[in-house]
């Protein structure tokens, strides 16, 4: 009798996990379908960079996207240093390929309850080790995504939506990434020492960089040539 109860519980548990997994899969599929409606876009916005060793003014940028995974950030009026991961870290890019979907329950972001879904790539040699999506189920929007890579550590992207929520395009993106300690090779330049104490490099918080893009407008599905992304 005891054995029967155990098997029954185990069966129900499996059924439950499978149904959750299916839910997670169908949720991802709905998001993917929504993202697929946008073939390309050209967006304008303001990019702010906050990295401990960079002193960069805010920049007016143009962001170009083309399906399946082409993304380019351009500063028409000057130079913009774009984190390497930011270009490859689009949602379309993260959702492509084969992976195992794991439902990791729910988490609160402010007052919003988000569904947490983890993606494990099937390919053992893939650079991405794990991606975690935080999804607003009611609105079918990815609010946050976190990716751990073999080479470049962990990336995190947080999105807030407004005018273009129907197309799942964010009004604001905050991209957080790992940075290595910066040090100029010795003998390159004589720096001016004004006598102020230099801040000492601390590990942990200071090794995180942040890039924020506030989008002001999107032009959707107008057809972008591949030459834009060269």
């Amino acid at each position: 009798m005891g054995n029967k109860k155990f098997y029954l519980l185990a069966f129900l548990n499996c059924l439950c996990l499978i149904s959750f997994a299916q839910d997670a899969n169908s949720l991802l599929q709905k998001i993917r379908d929504r993202l697929n409606k946008v073939n390309d876009y050209e967006a304008t916005g303001v990019m702010k960079t906050n990295v401990s060793f960079l002193k960069v003014p805010e920049a007016q940028v143009q962001v170009f996207f083309k399906k399946p995974d082409k993304l380019k950030i351009k500063n028409e009026h000057g130079i913009s240093l774009v984190p390497k991961g930011a270009v490859s870290f689009s949602l379309n890019n993260l959702l492509k390929g084969n992976y195992t979907v794991l439902d990791a329950g729910t988490e609160m972001m402010g007052s919003v309850k988000l569904r947490v879904i983890k993606l494990l790539p099937v390919d053992d040699n893939a650079d991405i080790v794990l991606s975690t999506f935080y999804i607003d189920e009611a609105k079918l929007l990815v609010m946050k995504a976190k990716t751990t890579t073999r080479e470049s550590g962990t990336y995190e992207v947080e999105m807030s939506y407004g005018k273009y929520a129907a197309e799942a395009l964010p009004d604001k993106v905050v991209f957080t990434f790992n940075t290595k300690d910066y040090k100029l090779p010795k003998g390159i330049t004589f720096d001016y020492d004004d006598g102020t104490k230099k801040k000492t490099e601390t590990h942990g918080e200071s090794s995180k960089g942040k890039v924020e893009i506030d989008y002001s407008s999107y032009i959707l599905n107008k057809g972008l040539p591949d030459s834009v992304f060269k």
Binding site: K48, T49, N50, V51, S52, F53, L54, K55, V56, P57, E58, H77, G78, I79, S80, L81, V82, P83, K84, V87, S152, F177, N178, T179, K180, Y182, K183, L184, P185, I188, T189, F190, D191, Y192, D193, D194, G195, T196, K198, E201, G209
Partner: protein, 293 residues
């Protein structure tokens, strides 16, 4: 006084050695520009090696006229004091060597006026050399390499300045460099009073500048806190301070700002103090001097 200055300038620009400096600066600038034109990317890769792992670096945009001018100034403003000494160390000692100094002091002008005119002529030469440098290093580079935002690699941080926020910084930096190099001119001028030929003051000035520059750049706490703040060579690099911006609370560079203006003004004050000290000592010594040559 103005007439005296004109005469001194005429003497300086009559000598062929004066033009060596202009020729040397032109040659050095063109060599650097050519090198960067054909292999600037290698230099930038070294410069950006600290951030190239994390960021996409648009090398072709970074290598622009403003950056090239900065690289040139960074290199040349260490060498230019030697060229300044070549002329300023000669203004009094050269005349003593030629035997014209005794004749000169018999003229109906005071020795103080004579010395001020000679130092004034050295400063005019210094400023003209800097203008020549600005034309070649900045404007020629802008023509050859175009313009864009400027990225400056410091020891512990990388600065980006918007292209419409750069030119005024160069004007300020050249102005500051004029004062810094006038300090060297004042030193050479002072040493020139004590010599009967120009080799001594020129070599002495170069030696002093080299020794003090090494002392200024050595990171030894004993010197950092005692001698270094008072050496004029420690303050000669403050022109770079005009290219360092303040940041806001979010870590963004603020356009049109200077990171530490009081420190630059303090450095400027120290350089002016040295100029006044050197010139005053030179005038007092010259007034008391028995001119036998």
């Amino acid at each position: 006084m103005f007439r005296l200055l004109q005469i001194e300038l005429f003497k300086i620009f009559k000598r062929p050695r004066t033009y060596i400096s202009f020729g040397a600066i032109a040659a050095m600038i063109l060599i650097i520009q050519l090198g960067l034109k054909f292999d600037g990317k290698s230099y930038l890769q070294l410069l950006m090696s600290g951030i190239s792992d994390s960021f996409i670096i648009p090398y072709d945009m970074i290598l622009n006229g403003y950056l090239v001018a900065f690289v040139i100034l960074n290199t040349l403003l260490i060498q230019v004091p030697l060229l300044i000494a070549l002329v300023a160390g000669d203004v009094v000692a050269g005349e003593a060597n030629m035997g014209t100094l005794r004749l000169l002091v018999t003229k109906p002008v005071s020795r103080t006026e004579l010395m001020l005119a000679k130092f004034g002529a050295s400063v005019v030469y210094t400023v003209l050399l800097l203008i020549w440098m600005a034309i070649l290093a900045l404007f020629l580079s802008m023509l050859f390499f175009g313009t864009n935002d400027m990225l400056i690699a410091r020891n512990d941080v990388m600065e980006q300045i918007s292209k419409n926020d750069i030119l005024w910084r160069y004007v300020a930096a050249f102005g500051y460099a004029a004062v810094a190099l006038s300090t060297v001119a004042a030193l050479a001028f002072l040493l020139s009073v004590f010599a009967d030929n120009s080799i001594g003051p020129i070599v002495s000035t170069i030696s002093i500048v080299v020794v003090l520059t090494i002392l200024s750049e050595m990171k030894i706490p004993l010197y950092d806190n005692t001698v270094k703040p008072y050496l004029f060579t420690s303050h000669m690099l403050a022109w770079k301070g005009f290219f360092y911006s303040k940041v806001d609370n979010e870590g963004e560079a603020i356009r049109g700002s200077i990171e530490n203006l009081p420190a630059i003004l303090r450095s400027l004050g120290i350089l002016f103090s040295y100029i006044i000290l050197f010139v005053t000592v030179a005038i007092i010594s010259f007034r008391k001097k028995d001119i036998l040559s």
